[in-house]
């Protein structure tokens, strides 16, 4: 609960940051201590993980990261345009949309991860099945954003704009196009973390490269340090794309302001 008392905001922020650092340091130190002096068989320890990451860095870690990122990027590049296009088209065709939309919904209720074995069965163990899994997920999310977006364009608003003397091309350039861009960006923001999950899932099931593969490979050796190292890499990728997504969102906000 926020108290009515106006707090000194700066002092509060300082307290919070100090607490965070202390907590983080304590966590790592406690873990290190436990691993060093009690047992690191099941828990590994931060210094070992760092050392492992260092070894990996000189030994193909970048290749694995690149593999995962490539799968995500290709999947996004395939899934996003298709989803956007279908969303735009169905958004303008209410009768067809009324028929097709529930079917697309039905398909979306399939837990998409479970398609991974099928895709691997069809396309083997290299990039293709992961790319396709990512593109399926992206397709759905972009379809939903664009379709919902098209519905929000107010016909009356367009008509008013045209009454003000805007030409058809101006309506498209100044209203529809910026709005579309905003939907696509917000769809991408949501799709980014999902693309990482999908790529990882594909790699964990069957692969020869990728961060998910690293994780599974380590787990088959019961190499806890390796597993935690792979997990750290995943988390860093995740935080990075999360930040990228936030940047996108800020851009969306600016677009929204321009559109409104």
């Amino acid at each position: 609960m926020a108290t009515a008392v106006v707090r000194n905001v700066i002092a509060e922020r300082r307290i919070v940051i100090v607490c965070r650092l202390v907590l983080f340091a304590l966590l790592l130190a406690g873990w290190e201590f436990y691993g060093r002096f009690v047992s690191d068989v099941w828990s590994s320890r931060p210094s070992l993980i760092l050392a492992r990451l260092w070894t990996w860095a000189g030994d193909g870690l970048l290749l694995h990261i690149a593999t995962t990122l490539t799968e995500m990027a290709c999947g996004l590049l395939i899934g996003a345009p298709v989803g956007t296009l279908l969303g735009l088209v169905l958004g303008r065709l209410p009768v067809v949309a009324g028929l097709v939309r529930p079917i697309i919904f039905g398909l979306y209720s399939i837990p998409l991860v479970t398609l991974a074995p099928l895709l691997i069965f069809w396309f083997g163990l290299d990039l293709a099945p992961k790319v396709i899994l990512v593109s399926i997920v992206t397709f759905f999310l972009l379809f939903f954003t664009t379709f919902a977006g098209v519905q929000t364009i107010d016909r009356e608003l367009i008509e008013n704009y045209r009454l003000l003397g805007a030409s058809r091309s101006e309506v498209i350039r100044k209203m529809i196009a910026p709005a579309c861009l905003a939907w696509i960006l917000s769809g991408l923001k949501i799709a980014l973390p999902y693309s990482l999950i999908s790529a990882t899932v594909g790699e964990m099931l069957l692969a020869r490269a990728g961060v998910g593969f690293l994780l599974m490979y380590a787990s088959q050796q019961i190499d806890i340090t390796g597993m935690l190292s792979a997990l750290t890499v995943l988390m860093v990728i995740g935080v990075t794309i999360g930040e990228a997504a936030n940047k996108l969102e800020r851009r969306i906000m600016r677009w929204r302001l321009l559109v409104a």
Binding site: A4, V5, V6, V9
Partner: protein
């Protein structure tokens, strides 16, 4: 109605809000005192700090400068002796009208037995004319009905001072008059002190013992006027009294500058 005893006192009270772009002055240093059982209406353009004054009296905000006392003591925590009807209603959407009205009586601070509570709710529902809507959720009520639920919720636990922020803004003209009549009666019977914020000058004159006109941005007191209309007032007809018209014209001159400036 006032009995000469000072209840609320603002001495040089001002309020500035910190924003990224720097401090924004909402209320310039203001002096104002309100006597016990006095009905004071605050009138002025939007953004003149009227609501800020209510928030400070309720203890939800601290003055940036100056001294604000209630019954002789500085308000430095929540002021539990006031009932506050905010501009935006704060009814709980998952409680029906009756339960919302009765909610203060469920708190340990005003603990009341179930039967007594039900009876009081029933009386309040009648008072604000919501018979038949007890079981409706706020989402199912019109804006005017929600205002009346909020009013009933404030009155049911009988706070000493009532703070009302545009309580009847959303009501249609007829209903507004009915509510004016009610509020005047309730305040008279309960011997309440009232701080009443409104845009509507006629409403302010019809109800108040004293009208304070504010100028906008930052808010400052422009003029204070005693309303010497005799009580009890017939809110339905008072508008046609010559004295009312005089007061209205006089205050309108002050207010008009502000409105035009907007």
């Amino acid at each position: 109605m006032a009995n000469g005893q000072e209840l609320l006192k603002l001495e040089g009270v001002s309020k500035a809000f910190e924003r990224d772009s720097g401090a924004i002055m909402a209320l310039a240093p203001t002096d104002l005192s309100v006597e016990r059982e006095e009905f004071v209406a605050l009138v002025g353009p939007s953004g003149c700090g009227k609501s800020t004054i209510l928030n400070m009296v309720a203890g939800l905000l601290r003055p940036s400068e100056g001294r604000l006392t209630y019954d002789g003591r500085p308000v430095d925590d929540l002021n539990l002796r006031v009932g506050y009807m905010t501009q935006r209603d704060t009814l709980l959407p998952w409680r029906n009208a009756g339960d919302n009205i009765g909610s203060p009586l469920e708190l340990s601070a005003h603990k009341t037995s179930k039967s007594e509570r039900d009876e009081k709710i029933h009386r309040m529902i009648e008072l604000v004319g919501l018979q038949g809507f007890e079981k409706h959720y706020p989402g199912e009520l019109s804006g005017g009905m929600r205002r009346r639920v909020a009013l009933a919720r404030m009155l049911i636990y009988n706070p000493e001072t009532l703070l009302m922020d545009e309580p009847f803004g959303a009501l249609d003209a007829q209903l507004k008059l009915v509510m004016h009549d009610e509020i005047q009666r309730i305040v008279g019977i309960g011997r309440k002190t009232v701080l009443f914020v409104t845009h509507d000058l006629a409403e302010a004159i019809a109800l108040a013992d004293r009208v304070v006109v504010f100028s906008g941005r930052p808010g400052r007191v422009k003029t204070v006027r005693e309303i010497d209309l005799p009580r009890p007032r017939d809110v339905f007809r008072i508008r046609f009294a010559p004295r009312f018209t005089e007061l209205h014209e006089e205050l309108w001159d002050h207010l008009q500058d502000e409105v035009n400036r907007d």
